[in-house]
Amino acid sequence: MKILVCMKQVPQKDAPLKLNETATWIREDVSYEVNEPDAYALEEALRQKEKHGGEVVVITSGPARAQQVLREALAKGADRAIHLEDNAFVGLDAFNTARAFAAAIKDEQFDLIFTGLQSDDYGYAQVGVILAELLGWPHATIIMQIEKTDAGIKVKRELEAGFFQFVDMPLPAVLTIQSGINKLRYATLIGIKNAKNKPLRKVALADVQSAIGNNLQMIEKLYIPQKTKNTEFIEGPPAEVAKKLVEKLRNELRVL
């Protein structure tokens, strides 16, 4: 099976974040890491390859720093990488990111495309689903298990309240992978060395420019939640005060 894994570089989980000057996103000078849900998608792809053979290709979009995500994936065992490299990719919404990916892989023949369930920064959980739609492929989300069948694959989806759904799907297909379904491997030192010799194809913004358009989604303003202290005195006869207090605790503060 030939599997593409879409990966993203996101700010490190416990990194202190600062807003940029226009308060539309965070400042660049933070530490970055692999989006954790994507690490599970990669792990699942590597396991599928170990079982069924084939190839694992990883793709990301972002500035030069994002290449670290691809290097790590190559060190863990991915065969080759595609980097859509430009600062402009950071600000793309899910629709345009999916369109850029679709354009970058138009000459490839994948059986499966994996994404993590969602990104730890924007958290849209949309790129995989939109990419499927653009390619005209079926998709399934929140995948916990993938089995190869004669007709394609059988996947297990996680629903709410402990319910699962099993779906038979034809290939090719797009799957968004649930986090925690496997144990992540480490990039070994030898793997890191070997990664140097694996192919990494760079795609410039100009190569996919015609496929993307204006963002449909925009962040207008980001702000740090304001902490406020407010003291309110409820006055009146005790019975009335108690009634008002219960009402506030129940409806305003929702602690009851």
């Binding site: 530490s31 670290q68 790590e72 060190a75 480490y186 990039a187 070994t188 030192l189 030898i190 890191i192």
Partner: protein, 392 residues
């Protein structure tokens, strides 16, 4: 209350590392965080070497990481140093085990061994299937290894070894010992021998009651008429400079390792000082005397990083001299021990308990300060370099 390590980088040191170096560091850090940190306090209490980590560490490529071929990763010296930093951020004893396996056993086989010896031992040691120890120090000869009493005598096509070795990391768990001995038939020249530890006359007894490096094995070795075939001689070993070359490798790793131990103490003290409140319900980090300690530590850690990075770069260019490495080892271990003591101060009574890693690092670093050339010996090496006069 467990405090999770957050990493230490004051002057954008990470920006001086390339992508691979950062990836190597982050990977080693994650491995240690996942696999060693959860068990290290128990190992330290019990005086237990975490043998279960040998295989996983081998799979990571930690053994012989800077050697090329024979299944080894072929890391640069800076990458190798960053691995030892992360290992020692976990524990000096575990880092010591890796240093001995890599720098003191695999390295001499790699540098002085025959092709047959390399083929026999290096891949198996890289895989962690075979463990090694290094026998140079003796009960009466530490800083002055040239005085060693262990002798090898050539009899027919065998060598017969006799002597005692002391303070040998991994002695009783090793499959192979690199034993340094004076060869009687060669004018008492010091040469290295590969001695399989199951040979008749070879005994290893653990040293108990250590208050330091409790998560690694330390033994005394006794060799009584141990016969080895002449093919067990390391053919390239030639005089005392051969074991000293091994020590150079190991000391280089230690100088990075000490940074790891210092980072662990500093980061713990910093986080603690922000949580711990005293006087007017203020965190103790708001006190000038606590800030002074923290500022001293981060400054010294940063200087130590720069020192190591430069020595590592010199080493990659083949230009690192033993006196460069002496400066890095001497400064960084001292700096780490001071950080441990200052951090312990900041944690007050809590610093004494093994809920926190500080006291363990402090006790470990007392050994690290002494082994592989004591603080004083490295002072004299630097002194000899700058004055041209040996003061040993």
């Amino acid at each position: 209350m467990a405090i999770k390590f957050k990493g230490v980088d004051y002057i954008e040191f990470d920006a001086m590392l390339n992508d691979d170096e950062r990836l190597v560091r982050d990977t080693a850090r994650k491995f240690i965080e996942d696999n060693l940190i959860p068990i290290i306090e128990e190992c330290n209490r019990a005086g237990r070497f975490p043998r279960e980590l040998v295989k996983p560490m081998a799979e990571m490529g930690f053994f012989g990481a800077s050697l090329k071929g024979y299944g080894c990763a072929g890391m640069s010296n800076v990458e190798y140093g960053l691995v030892t930093q992360e290992l020692e951020r976990g524990d000096s004893g575990v880092r010591s085990f890796v240093s001995v396996q890599s720098a003191l056993v695999m390295y001499p086989i790699y540098a002085f061994g025959s092709e047959e010896q390399k083929q026999t031992w290096l891949p198996a040691m890289q895989q962690g299937e075979k463990l090694g120890c290094f026998g140079l120090t003796e009960p009466d000869f530490g800083s002055n290894p040239g005085g060693m009493r262990t002798r090898a005598r050539k009899v027919g096509n065998e060598y017969v070894l006799n002597g005692e070795k002391m303070w040998i990391t991994s002695g009783s768990i090793a499959d192979i010992a690199v034993i340094w001995a004076k060869v009687e038939n060669e004018d008492n020249k010091v040469r290295g021998f590969l001695v399989e530890t199951d040979r008749k006359g070879f005994k290893a007894e653990d040293i108990h009651g250590k208050w330091s490096l409790r998560a690694s094995v330390t033994s005394g070795l006794s060799l009584q008429d141990v016969h080895v075939p002449e093919s067990n001689l390391l053919p390239g070993s030639n005089g005392l400079k051969s074991p000293l070359m091994c020590l150079n490798q190991a000391r280089y790793g230690i100088s990075w390792g000490a940074i790891g131990a210092a980072m662990s103490c500093y980061d713990c003290a910093l986080q603690y000082s922000l949580l711990r409140k005293q006087f007017r319900d203020q965190p103790i980090a708001s006190h000038q005397m606590v800030q002074e300690k923290l500022a001293w530590m981060i400054t010294e850690i940063t200087k130590a990083q720069l020192l190591c990075l430069q020595v590592g770069k010199l080493k990659d260019q083949g230009k690192a001299e033993h006196y460069h490495i002496s400066m890095a080892k001497r400064n960084n271990v001292w700096m780490a021990l001071e950080c441990a003591r200052l951090s312990r101060d900041i944690l007050g009574a809590n610093g004494v308990a093994d809920d926190y890693p500080i006291m363990r690092h402090m006790m470990n670093l007392e050994s690290v300060k002494t082994y592989e050339g004591t603080q004083d010996i490295h002072t004299l090496i630097i002194g000899s370099r700058i004055t041209g006069i040996d003061a040993f």
